[in-house]
């Protein structure tokens, strides 16, 4: 009987992303791995699901203790596909990432990486999203490994309450060593968009979306503050959009 934990890995940067490969390498030390990622980058896909078109899945690796698949779906689709069509038992842990770029604060709602984590949490499967606060395709993830392993081992041992996942963000590598791990809250920040208007060779206008990040949250116990102080930030997350403080104030 196989006693090694079963770990599902997905991401939103596509199967070829460096962060995805590094997450696989860390997780293979901890258990049997099923990795499933998308043919195309899925950054910004949030909690999107594919309902207009059929999903396809191709197996690309089939070794003892390690299977890898690709699909045309979104990160949330990957979690659903793994649970319902690729596995014959419930995984012990679902991890997503390592994302190229921060998913702290408001970024969580745009993030396909965190969409997968929240989808797993709905089903009561312990799930963790790992993101590095650095974007380049060749970003250095080396300093992140020990924290990813430590946090994953703890959650494999302790579990998480049903409905709750973890949003873990890791500072970009620097000359200063990371100070530790802080459990914190989502900062109230936002993106201010910038649309660049261009004209194509056929004189039709088109727009590229850009933007800059604005954090006006001055509280001490937020993810943005922890990252700024060179800590790994861990936010326990759940899906409840209710503005509870306002429910009793709104009258019709």
């Amino acid at each position: 009987m196989n006693k090694r934990p079963l770990i599902v890995i997905t991401n939103d940067d596509g199967y070829n992303a460096k962060g995805f490969k590094e997450l696989i390498s860390v997780m293979r030390k901890l258990g049997d791995v099923l990795a499933i990622s998308s043919d195309q980058p899925m950054s910004g896909m949030s909690h999107a699901v594919t309902i207009q078109t059929p999903l396809r899945v191709t197996q690309i690796v089939d070794e003892p203790g390690f299977q890898e698949f690709r699909s045309n779906g979104t990160p949330v689709d990957m979690v659903k596909l793994a649970k319902h069509s690729l596995l014959d038992r419930v995984p012990d842990l679902i991890v997503s990432g390592i994302n190229h770029g921060s998913n702290a604060s408001i970024n969580i709602i745009y993030s396909g990486t965190m969409g997968a984590v929240l989808e797993a949490a709905i089903d009561g499967i312990p799930a963790i999203g790992f993101s590095l606060c650095d974007y380049p395709a060749d970003a250095d993830f080396g300093h992140a490994h020990e924290f990813i392993e430590l946090i994953s081992r703890k959650i494999l041992a302790d579990g998480l309450p049903k409905g709750i996942g973890l949003n873990v963000n890791i500072p970009k590598i620097s000359d200063e060593p990371i100070k530790g791990i802080k459990v914190v809250r989502q900062a109230e920040a936002r993106w201010v968009e910038d649309f660049e208007e261009r004209t194509d060779p056929f004189r039709r206008k088109y727009y590229w979306m850009g933007g800059h990040f604005v954090n006006g949250d001055v509280r001490e116990d937020t993810d943005e503050k922890a990252l700024q102080d060179n800590y790994v930030s861990v936010v326990p997350v759940q899906i409840d959009f209710t503005a509870h403080n306002y429910v009793d104030k709104l009258k019709f």
Copy 2:
């Protein structure tokens, strides 16, 4: 000087959806309207944003007090485009819908209709998502109009706190008149997926995602309970994924 409120309308069922046209007809009674919808249905697109491809916008109506646009973007893109590229002033209200199908409970996180509402709320623009608990393309929205008008007039008059929007769901038409409006919380329910596995003419497998809705939440003050009792449900919503009750329990 134009004193009529400026109202932006979007949805996730595409520009040709009956619910979108009916929402436009109600809103034109209340103010000047800019309507912008997608070329394709965007159900299930959640809070997705388009960052891999450029956005295009085509104006299809330009009348005094009513402008309509189409775009290849997602519902969240529509809100961003309207605010930053199509309008020269901040709208007084953003409404999304009328969605064909419920966005109560866990549906909010998959919903493009509610993605647009939450995006507007981040920017402090009062925003409301309207959904009918009935899916067909020719669904009867007639009984919804008076509630949509009443709720929209109230929010135009009173505003909403920054960061908060409304998720409004309206029961399917029946022989019983709707009993009224209830301000409630998001029920803790979920979808249990069902993947139908098929084989294409080239002997390749593909999957269609389906599922059924499971509500184990027995509280009295939820959106699902209000709808079941034939009330319009109104949930004030915000983006804060933090599981606040668990922050102090998790230790590293």
